[in-house]
């Protein structure tokens, strides 16, 4: 199995789309709020990552749109694909595996105050 990590934008976009469909701005907001502002993507970084994810077939443009009164027709919605979900789960496995490689050493993560 590939043990190289996903880049932060790619990982966060996959996480954002894992349970719903979102448009670009909503993804920015979702990432920012989920990470308490620690990950704040620029517009171009987001779309650069989206472009690569589309190319890789990990996400797709969604045809389903919200109810017309809630919809903004300029917006484009993205959804995760089965291979995207698999890649995300593979990444989670990888993180878990990475942690397992240190557990025996008896060191734990930083407590919040130390960060």
């Amino acid at each position: 199995m590939d043990t190289r990590p996903l880049s932060i934008p790619v990982f966060q976009i996959l996480v954002s789309l894992s349970d719903r469909q979102l448009h670009g701005y909503a993804m920015l907001r979702d990432i920012k709020s989920r990470t308490a502002g620690r990950v704040s993507l620029t517009a171009s970084t987001l779309y650069s990552a989206v472009n690569r994810l589309l190319d890789a077939g990990w996400i797709r443009e969604s045809e389903d749109r919200p109810a017309p009164e809630l919809d903004d027709e300029r917006r484009r919605y993205f959804a995760i694909t089965p291979s995207g979900l698999e890649a995300l789960r593979h990444e989670l496995w990888r993180m878990d595996w990475m942690l397992s490689t240190v557990r025996d050493k008896g060191i734990g993560p930083l407590a919040p105050r130390e960060q």
Binding site: D2, S7, A43, S44, V50, R52, A56, W58, R74, R76
Partner: protein
Amino acid sequence: MTVARVPLPVRVYAWIVRRFLPRAFRERHGDRLVQLFGDNWLVESRTRPKPAMVALFLVEVLALLANAAREHVAVWQRVSPSRLNSSDCAGLGERVRWIRFLARDLRHAARALRKRPGFTAIAVATVAVGIGANTSVFGLLHSVLIRPLPFPDSNRLLVVDATAPERGVDDMGFSYAELLDWQEMNREFDALAGFYYADLTVSGGDSPLRLKGTLVSANFLEVLSVRPMLGRGFLPREESLHADRSILIGEGLWRSRFGSDPNIVGSSVTVGGESSTIVGVLPAQVTFPEASQIWMPFRWDPENPRYMREARMIGRLRPGATTDQALTDLQRIAALLAERHPDTNAGVGVRVRLLREVVFGNDGERILILYVVASLVLLLACANVASLLLVRNDSRRHELAIRSSLGAGRGQIVRLLLTESLLMAVLGGVLGIALGWYGRDFLLAIRPRELQPLFFPEIRPDFLFVTVAIVTATGVLFGLLPSLTATGAGSSGLVRNTGGDGKSGSKLGLTLVSANVALALTVLVGASLMVKSAMRHGALHPGFDPDNVVTLQLHLPDADWTDRARRRTFFEEVLTEVRAMPEVESASVITELAAEPKSQRWRMRQEGTESYDPREVPLVLTDVCDKGYFETMGIPLLAGRDFAGADRRDDTPQVVIVNVALARRFWPGENPIGKRIGLGGGTPSSEDRWYRVVGLVGDTYNSGWGSPTEPQAFFPLGKITPYDSYFTVRTVGNAKAVLTAMRERIWSVNPDIPLSRIRTMEQVVRQSNWHVSFNSWAFSLFSVIALVLAATGVYAITAHTVARRWREFAIRIAVGACSRDVDRLVLGRGARALGSGVVLGLSVSLVGARFLGAMLFGVSPMDLGVYVTSLGVLTVVSLSAGLVPLIRLRRQSLMAVLGGE
């Protein structure tokens, strides 16, 4: 949403998206990317303050540019089919790929540069000259204007001087009583300290050492916020008259004289004939106020009268206070003191300057001008290399066409060409920094050694950062336009190798000719004005004849030489011996050298002014000299007589020799010989304060080169006998041999006497106005560089035009046009470009020259001669450069050109 309502940042962002993103990406995401940025902008701008929005914009734009570059690479990667594996989304893999592609680009570029070594050499040399000029001057600029002085918060350090505006004095000192008043009454300074320059002698060891030293208030380290590297600073009680002597020494002195002894603190040395205890060592960068190596506390006598003004003041502003507030507060104190002590403080004002200004004076302004010129030279070098590249890319059209037909997109070719120019910029930059390093040494060599040690450029990270930025900008600047042009023409034209119509290329070429000419003209005019001003300055007659005069400074250690008769005998003995030497034409002694800054000013008034205001008694530059001084220095004796041996004796009448400026001030239109001068501001009651004028001598520049001569009075050695003085000797033979002999004669009389500053008078003159030679050298160099660059630029473009239209010209000639028609065709367009360059250059020069105004001496910023000469030389050089390719065209046989058809 109408266009007008889109905020400017969003429009800029959209423009960048349109210009810089690869087409595929742009078509797929461009609109939504801009929309996303715009939405985010609107939301954020409701809550964030303006500066934060500016920061946000910068971050977004930089990220956009970085992502654009990344997407371009991705487009390129698409050529290789393996790219769509899953690790494409992995950051690490991408970074490796980036480096791989960069390496490939660099390999291509290096190969391309190697293939044309001549071109590469010229282009790299041009960049090197531009960057070298820029970095060496930037080094100076950095040390003078940007680098902070070596004290914490150094922009809070102010030097305070007392002034007497009515008497035109702006560097009067403060007396002890005044210093206490100012320390007590001011509200804007955390601390105020007094200081006073004093050369000090350290004796013992092999030979006595004369050093630049400073007398200071005990709190001066507190003002500077400096800690000694060893030991401690001064204590308040050490300021008192009867305290034991304590001194601080500089790290340099500690290393050189005391062998870096870590236990130096507490040991004693003899300074100025008195045993003193070293209480601390200051770090090397502290040379306050100027090149000082030894510091001693003031020894104030509380009985000193208020008018004994010796000390200057330096203060540290309290946090948040401004210079203006400080000045207002000090003026308030000056007014209060004038009320309390009308006899001594009426009419005494105050001025404050940043320590930086005091340390560097005008140098900052001067170097800023030099830097502007150096930057123009760098721009010129860029325009020049752009011209060369245009030509080079032209001769590579075939290669580029093949690349293009093999599937390379425009972006790829532009990237390749840009990599090449960046590589050249880096090579040129490395060479240029080396050149700049030598240039710096060269600049330092012009600078006299005694000047500010702070005025010493060093390599520092921020400086390197700027240089790297300049190199990169240079590469992009001279590489971008030609590469875009090279790839702009249709590829079918490229493959056929017919040169197309060459319109876009030649239009750019003509623009570059204009730019070359305009920049060169601006540099030429500015530099010529500065050179002419320096020459005017240098051509000034100093009022004396420095040729074949040598000088050395001598100091009689105060403690051992308190007896005036002993000092007088010493001078008489040494002078008699020196004058007897066969190589010596004449010799004498003076307290302060001509052409050097003077510090001794005494109050004097002419006889016959019975009622006067003490404030109006003028301060007159005062020197003490022996007979033969004016002859030795070649200062003309205009009337009366020189001092005689008898004038030294106490039982002869008191006499004085004055300069023309003093005679004009005291007795306008009258013969000064026989008139009397009274010393001191009070009523000169006793006879011994009156001196009769026996001689009138010519003026010298005694208050700065080129400034009006100040009134000056010379008193005979003997009645007044100084501790410090300069021997001046006019020689007929080898000056060095004379100096060695003199040194031995003096040491044979007394081996403990420190001698220093052994120089020829020419060196003295050079050192005192070093910026004149500095300016002439630096600006002349820049003019020559500008001319050469303009010539190669114009040559390159003409050659380019001729080469592009080679076949067309050949055909024209074949069907009957004479070669003169072709010349006219080429020269006509060239002349128009030259003309617009000249107009542009002249306008920029005329505007720019106004800023030079204050720095120019004896030259108007609109000096017609300078403009006409610069214009003439540039036109001749450009036209000649433009003619060369035409002459070569004429030599070429028609058949050779058309042979390919």
